[in-house]
Amino acid sequence: MSRLGEIPIRIVSRTPAASTGTIGAGVTAILIEIATQLDRLADGGEPGAIDLRSLPMSPGDREQLLKALGPGEVTITLKGDGESTINETGIQGVWWSEYRDRGGELIAGFIEIAQVPAILPVEPDQLRRGAQQLRAGAAGAAQQPGN
């Protein structure tokens, strides 16, 4: 055996859920969990999340889940320390988040059930620092010759 291609590989599972088009039991359970968390958000304003890494999903299950949720109208790109994406799904308030490192590797993935993803809002101290920064910039510009 001298070439990589000669190493025998036998495919044990062909992810039947994806090939037959029927939604698997695992995906159904996740959809019901999302629905429960949506109710909780609507009734008490409590956001929720499901960690995709903790779920034993095959690529076929993942495909089924994405298909069931459908595409939404909002896409957010975070550009800090690698490019991460947050996509709203076709179910409003359900966000599919994928965080990646600088090398593009997936470091966290989860479904967030929230009005707005928790990573986005800005804290009051950051707002104040921004205001200070702008005022300092404006004061510096006012002292420039010619102003």
Partner: protein
């Protein structure tokens, strides 16, 4: 906010380095996921860390092969750069630091003095006590003396690797240097063992981060290992487990069973009695782990793994003790039996093996204590 020695908080440090709050939340969310914490815990962890001071970390390497540090510097999430620049102040590591000789020793002494009672002491390697500690000395001091001195001012000790946790390879019979684990030398400080030969990089960084973000020692198992990473056996979370349950075993490294990816139990896999996160966190950024690459688990995160007979003898060997106690005849009998009896007996034998292992360890420790 009160500042200790005018140190900035981690949040202030991050701003100076241009790391935004959102980036840090992202990084903590990934860490929370790796720690199997609820997804929203990442944000809470980020806020706790931002308000905390960067703790001083002193990393001492004793009788070891540097494999643990090689593992640590390959951490993907968080990366070692993230950890060193954002979260901790690595004040001494004789392998990573630019300083050497007396200058390095001075840096260590200064960090210990300035942060007395507050620094995290990371130990890599066992501590040889034979010949008055002469088998391992740094800057004219023996490892055992350096450990005792450094431990006095530590808030907690994190033992990285099986050598500092349980003695590891240097501790193996006949232990020519009289090497001991840290916990046999220091008894008055909280000790966390992150065992493995080497440990998984994310388990090392995750344990440090969890300690720093909460300021508390995490929940530990009976061997002082963090339960969040060492709560399950490799076997419990192994993707080959269904084959074990079906009684499908590889019997040699090149037979049909091996090519089909069947269970490696009969080839000596120690997964049923080994507690670690290899099957879930995996290695090299989640690429694979030994069983996925076709090799049985060696049980490297368990005490005395080097002295438990052949790595290629099945676990259900009738006497699973130190090397030499299991005869080849015994092993052959057991290997033949495992496949025939199947899953139920396998599960029971794994449990019995663990009990037997603890019994052997207890009696070995008692005998050694009597001898010394």
């Amino acid at each position: 906010m009160a500042h200790y020695h005018d140190q900035p908080t981690i949040g202030e440090m991050l701003e100076r380095h241009g790391v935004s709050r959102r980036t840090f939340i992202k990084y903590c969310t990934a860490m929370a996921s790796a720690l199997a914490l609820p997804p929203l815990a990442g944000r809470a962890m980020a806020e706790q860390l931002r308000a905390a001071l960067r703790p001083s970390v002193i990393y001492l390497s004793f009788q070891e092969c540097t494999g643990c540090l090689e593992s640590l510097i390959r951490s993907f999430s968080p990366s070692i750069e993230n950890l060193i620049f954002d979260v901790i102040s690595l004040d001494y590591d004789d392998t990573l630091m630019a300083a050497a000789g007396a200058q390095a020793e001075m840096a260590r002494d200064k960090a210990m003095k300035d942060n007395y009672g507050k620094y995290v002491l990371v130990i890599d390697g066992s501590v040889p006590t034979g010949a008055n500690g002469a088998y391992c000395a740094l800057g004219g001091k023996s490892a055992v003396d350096i450990l005792r001195e450094a431990a006095k001012g530590a808030a907690a000790i994190v033992c990285v690797g099986t050598c500092s946790s349980f003695g590891g390879v240097p501790f193996a019979d006949p232990n020519p240097t009289q090497a001991w684990p840290v916990s046999d030398i220091v008894s008055d400080k909280p000790i966390v063992n992150v065992s493995g030969c080497p440990p998984i990089p994310e388990v090392i960084t995750g344990t440090l981060l969890q300690f720093i973000s909460t300021g508390k020692v995490p929940d530990l198992d009976e061997y002082r290992r963090p339960k969040v990473f060492f709560g399950n056996t490799i076997h419990d979370r192994c993707y080959r487990r269904p084959f074990y349950d079906q009684g499908k075993f590889a019997k040699s490294f090149d037979d049909e069973g091996a090519r089909n990816g069947w269970c490696l139990f009969e080839l000596g896999c120690k997964g049923p009695t080994t507690y670690n996160a290899c099957a879930t966190t995996k290695w090299n950024g989640g690429t694979s782990f030994p069983i996925e690459s076709g090799h049985p688990c060696l049980g490297c995160s368990e005490p005395n793994f080097w002295d438990k007979g052949s790595f290629y003898s099945a676990l259900s060997a009738p006497r699973w003790g130190k090397a030499g106690e299991v005869s080849p005849g015994d092993v052959l009998k057991v290997v033949g039996g495992a496949a025939a009896v199947g899953a139920a007996l396998g599960v029971a034998s794994a449990g019995l093996s663990r009990l037997r292992q603890r019994h052997i360890e207890k009696s070995t420790t008692n005998n050694e204590a009597k001898e010394s």
